[in-house]
């Protein structure tokens, strides 16, 4: 059985309740220029069409879960992962935390819960994540989750007038098996 809800000590990953909740994260995500990616836009009608297909949880396409604070019940961000294809041994994942909830450790726990979701439900040997080279906070957060640097893509994106590299990180199943989150995580409701 595949669990959708993963709960840690401070946050849980769960499906979005409805499109309004899903959209509320993107109002900030796409409303504020990202210092590392620049101005972007995902039209509301396209967001809604994507959401209506499967509530953003699908093996064959990019999936997104809500990150919810346990103490207040507030939505703090999105945890996403890539599409799964049979034969593939690795999947990528990513996290977006709303500005007012950053630097409080919610992103780290959300990543650890997403690793549990991936390794417990898919026949994977590894999981990987990436960020821009100068995004120190994201790099530290990945390292705090046990991910290790495995290379950089040079000149992948022009950021505020200069070319920046994208750094890649990876964690193996046997490394995830040693993480303390496995003793903490609760699955299902």
């Amino acid at each position: 059985m595949m669990h959708v809800i993963y709960t840690g000590e401070r946050v849980r990953l769960r499906a979005f309740r409805d499109f309004a909740e899903f959209n509320s994260v993107h109002v900030e995500d796409y409303g504020i220029p990202d210092p590392f990616r620049g101005p972007r836009w995902w039209p509301v009608s396209k967001r809604e069409a994507e959401f209506e297909k499967c509530g953003m949880l699908d093996h064959g396409a990019y999936s997104m879960s809500a990150i919810e604070r346990l103490d207040t019940g507030a939505l703090v961000g999105i945890s996403g992962c890539g599409a799964y294809q049979p034969g593939q041994l690795s999947m990528n994942f990513g996290t977006y935390i709303l500005a007012q909830h950053r630097r409080q450790g919610y992103g780290i726990e959300a990543k650890l819960l997403q690793l549990c979701r991936l390794f417990e439900n898919y026949p994977l040997e590894a999981a990987r994540a990436s960020t821009m080279k100068h995004h120190v906070g994201a790099r530290r957060s990945m390292e705090a989750c046990g991910l290790r640097y495995c290379g950089r893509l040079r000149a992948i994106e022009c950021v505020a007038g200069r070319w920046d590299d994208e750094v890649q990180y990876q964690i193996f199943r046997e490394e995830w098996e040693q993480l303390p989150i496995r003793q903490i995580v609760k699955r299902g409701r």
Binding site: A126, G151, R154
Partner: protein, 199 residues
């Protein structure tokens, strides 16, 4: 008012009209051209042979024909995804291909030369060098990248000789011949950015 006289750019001599499929560039041993319908069976066999496909679904002539006849982007020549065939000059045989996907500032390549070719390294190096010359002659390209499996050692040599660097190794990415295999990403960036990118 003096009028500056502009010369019409000259098309390189190796760009040759060749029936319906124009030869886009000519190397020492191969020439590059677009795909025609009669090439599909050979191309499908080459695509099925490469150990690192874009999709983990086997390619057949039937599937490739469907892609070739795609209403939005027919002819395996779309706005983002294009196929170049490498044709050996000596005998006109199709010996390899480059599957190019244009994403933002980057061209992402999958390439292959038939495993049976005894001079595969020579052909592979020439195919990639010819492709690079074609792109750099007509585009102000920032980045080109290629994905392959760690076991594809010959292709790594072709990429290194064309100025690519191995940028990332993702261990245990795919099953290949019964065991987990690493995937490598090789990248080339314009010399304009070599000292500035990410510094």
């Amino acid at each position: 008012m003096s009028e500056e006289k502009k010369e019409t750019p000259k098309v390189p001599e190796d760009v040759i009209a060749d029936g319906q499929a124009q030869t886009m560039a000519t190397g020492a041993y191969i020439r590059l051209r677009a795909v025609q319908e009669e090439d599909l069976a050979v191309l499908a066999a080459l695509m099925a042979e490469t150990p690192c496909p874009r999709q983990l679904v086997p390619w057949t002539t039937q599937r490739l024909k469907k892609k070739y006849n795609d209403e939005k982007e027919p002819g395996l020549w779309g706005r983002q995804n294009r196929f170049y065939l490498a044709v050996r000059i000596a005998d006109g045989q199709i010996i390899g291909y480059i599957d190019e996907r244009e994403q933002w500032v980057c061209r992402d390549l999958h390439l292959h030369v038939a495993d049976r070719e005894p001079d595969r390294d020579q052909l592979g190096e020439d195919m990639l060098a010819t492709y690079m010359r074609l792109i750099l002659e007509w585009h102000d390209q920032v980045r080109i990248e290629a994905w392959l499996l760690a076991c594809e050692e010959q292709k790594q040599g072709w990429l290194a000789s064309a100025g690519f660097e191995r940028e990332v190794v993702f261990a245990e990415m795919f099953m290949h011949q019964g065991r987990p295999e690493a995937e490598q990403l090789w990248g080339w960036i314009s010399p304009r950015f070599e000292n500035g990118a990410g510094s």
